[in-house]
Subunit: 328 residues, 2 copies
């Protein structure tokens, strides 16, 4: 007799959040990606144009890990008109030794939001100047909130700026996050104004035209771009990538296909010049070389992160006795 554990969003929110252990769990996967030890098949995608819907399926096997996560993400952009969220998803965790399903994680996308924010903190931890005190975020949604919170784990942030296409959302973000983080957060009138005093800039938008152009860069700035995950999206101008002292990505192939490297390579940037985050974490390649360097890191998101966060969340839920056990 085997059993599967049914875990819901409240179970998972109680189990994992913006903690050091969670961040280290995410950090650990990048060297597996860069060394080719993570087995990550290409993303499976189904488009349902008549509903403005898309379903993405990711998975990854990491040698030594006890579980393999299969993640199903759904984005249905007509949902808000019927009172439902656009984005959702779930993960299944299979036992990597037997293939038997261990847990179904009905997280409604929470674990993806979380692992994406933790990846941003990992990138900043390895690339931003150590004493960074000013942060800026572009976008004012869930991911912007989580990125700013995660960044505060790894850098002594004293104040933050936010820019959004919607001034009212930026204002709400500033007010909410000031209270939540206990530090001043202000809305800025443009991406350049947000970035002006910042040492760390995180972009979290679905932009299809670059927001970070050459004029936004200044000595000592680190940029993490997490928004682009599809061929038509772009947050960072090709010229900015070409001008940076160091360009980093989570997965070179994926970033070249779906991320910020796509437009840069089309404009002549050699993808071989981009370093993978795992190479820096493992010490194979150097990260920031000077306080004045401009560094840019593109994160497209990987199934390896899903396997890592689903494994940790499931372990914690089982330890806590959370969820429903169903005999299968």
């Amino acid at each position: 007799m085997t059993a599967i554990h049914i875990l819901t969003e409240p179970d998972l929110r109680a189990a994992v959040g913006l903690g050091d252990d969670e961040r280290m769990a995410i950090e650990a996967v990048y060297p597996l990606i860069s060394s080719g030890r993570a087995q990550m098949p290409p993303i499976m995608r189904i488009d349902i144009p008549e509903r403005r819907g898309e379903i993405d399926i990711k998975s990854a096997y990491l040698p030594g890990y006890g579980g393999v996560a299969v993640k199903v993400s759904a984005g249905f952009f007509d949902n808000p008109s019927i009172g439902l969220p656009s984005l959702g998803g779930l993960m299944i965790l299979l036992d990597a030794r037997t293939g038997i399903p261990r847990a179904a994680l009905f997280d409604n996308g929470y674990l993806t939001d979380l692992r994406t924010a933790l990846a941003g903190a990992v990138a900043a931890d390895h690339l931003a100047v150590p004493g960074a005190t000013v942060a800026a975020v572009l976008g004012a949604g869930v991911q912007a909130r989580l990125q700013l919170g995660a960044l505060c784990q790894v850098r002594p942030i004293e104040r933050a700026l936010v820019w959004s296409r919607s001034a009212s959302e930026a204002a709400t973000f500033a007010e909410t996050m000031s209270g939540e983080l206990g530090l001043p957060v202000a809305a800025a009138p443009s991406p350049a104004a947000a970035a002006q005093d910042a040492q760390v800039l995180v972009t979290t938008t679905p932009a299809t035209e670059p927001l970070v152009d050459l004029g936004v860069l200044h000595p000592g700035l680190h940029v993490t771009a997490v928004g682009s995950d599809a061929e038509h999206k772009q947050e960072v101008a090709a010229q900015a990538i070409q001008a940076a002292d160091l360009v980093v990505c989570d997965h070179r192939g994926q970033s070249t296909r779906l991320g910020e490297l796509r437009a840069a390579v089309a404009a002549g940037f050699d993808p071989g010049e981009a370093v993978e985050l795992g190479q820096i974490i493992s010490g194979d390649r150097r990260g920031r070389r000077s306080p004045d360097a401009v560094t840019i890191c593109d994160l497209t998101g990987t199934g390896a992160q899903d396997t890592a966060i689903a494994s940790l969340a499931t372990t914690r839920c089982l330890e806590a006795g959370a969820g429903i056990r169903v005999d299968t």
Copy 2:
């Protein structure tokens, strides 16, 4: 508030089986495949060689269907040594209008076994001689049992023969199935001996060397091959495919890559000569042209069948109040 229904193998076995409605649900997907209306991304696969394990993920969107199934199949061939089955799996059914998960079907592979057997009956129904009274199966496992049962739905089978590499499994099969179907089932000493008097032959083995060679064919025989679903498997000799009067497959591309057409094409068979089952079901192409024709149908299995059977099973379970409802 949304909710997901957790359905277990007993729920699903009670809901769907070898019935006419189930067979017609499977039949209906083939014209969608052949006309290009089914959206079926390539199978995602992860190999875990240190456990002799493989994880396959299939999905399909069928226009007009309310659900999209995502199927995770696992085959871990060291499992029997620790008392676990080699094969397992589950399906998730998403709402095709919103992307929201509606049901998790922990079927342990039952729905795959069932839809594969139903597909065999669909193929026989369209290709075997109408008055077929003698059936033969190669292999004596779960799929052989289901195929024989499904075939009896569509043809007036009066007796059956079984061949297996394991003579004792063939003997057990013959005894069990004689009782279950209420007709004589006998073990045969070779594939040719099993097929000799049969009008329908179904091959259900994981063979990597052909079992059905030219000598097994005789006028009026229909062969359905369901075993091969990977590059290294083969049940039907290339010469037998080349000699048949009509060669049919569920999906030309997949059969050429993973099924019986692979070796045949390598031996010079033109894949354009193979007809898709959906073309025959829809009336676009003719099936059997004479009582003496030899017909061969290769079924590799498709995500479209998974979406069809998962949709039907979920609807029936919800109508019956089966399963566990979990608010997500």
